[in-house]
Symmetry: C2
Subunit: 155 residues, 2 copies
């Protein structure tokens, strides 16, 4: 793997979303393997530049580490939704064979995010900034739906 793609002093690391991502990644690290790792390096595997993508086969099964990154990403979004709307948001990532699946976040009886996953073994974002933009988009759509259907979200 090449250089770290997120600068150690990138202000993006101070955003709510990235702080939560770090928390999620630390939570996954039951054996403390990444304990000494600075946050930019911890989040670096989420960045999949074109060069990095080229190194991954087009077809493949996602490994445990990739799966936990997918889980961490949607967990973090669920946490942000929860903070924003004050109601419990439950993420659910389901993968079938060959990296196809579905990621869902529910609040009450409302589906506030629903995505089809494919090529999960190549999960990643072109840059940290693209990752945050994606998360912000999912968050704002979710919060909007909750506002429109607060009765169902409150069930």
């Amino acid at each position: 793997m090449s250089d770290v793609m997120i600068a150690a002093d990138d202000p993006i690391l101070e955003s709510d979303f990235m702080v939560e991502m770090v928390r999620q990644m630390r939570a996954l690290d039951s054996y403390g393997v990444w304990e000494g790792l600075p946050t930019n390096e911890l989040l670096d595997p989420f960045v999949l530049t074109k060069e990095r993508k080229r190194e991954i086969p087009v077809v493949g099964d996602p490994d445990e580490e990739t799966l936990s990154r997918v889980q961490a990403f949607y967990n973090a979004i669920a946490v942000l939704i929860e903070k924003e709307c004050g109601k419990m948001a439950v993420p659910m990532v389901h993968l079938s064979h060959e990296g196809f699946g579905r990621a869902l976040i529910t609040v009450g009886k409302l589906v506030v995010m629903d995505r089809t996953l494919r090529d999960v073994h190549r999960f990643g974002f072109e840059s940290a900034s693209k990752m945050k933009t994606e998360a912000d988009k999912l968050l704002s759509v979710a919060v909007e739906i909750i506002g429109e259907h607060s009765d169902v979200a409150g069930m």
Copy 2:
């Protein structure tokens, strides 16, 4: 395993739900292993009498066959919901380690069924009749929620 617990001429086998259960089980049987099996024998493993339950250890990991039965059960309920309300119902069964998990059915952006699963390795019903009662209950609750929130179900 002991005798078959569903009689070959049990009228319950003609109910919409049981007919759909048979269809689901046949669909799972990619290798045609159960091809010659009559419907009562095909559905027999869903019946977990007290005697049968006693033979299964309290703690255990669900095997592939048990998992496919769980999937078949919730698939069948989703199909019945779909027939009843005319909208697509999507089932999602997610299991973590040791047979814990969550089964969900969504219609549009509405969660119409949401169950916590535990002890999945002991998945089953005391009788065919109890199984159908359970399915009918899930169906009627789902249909009611859809009626109340048809806007969200239509999203």
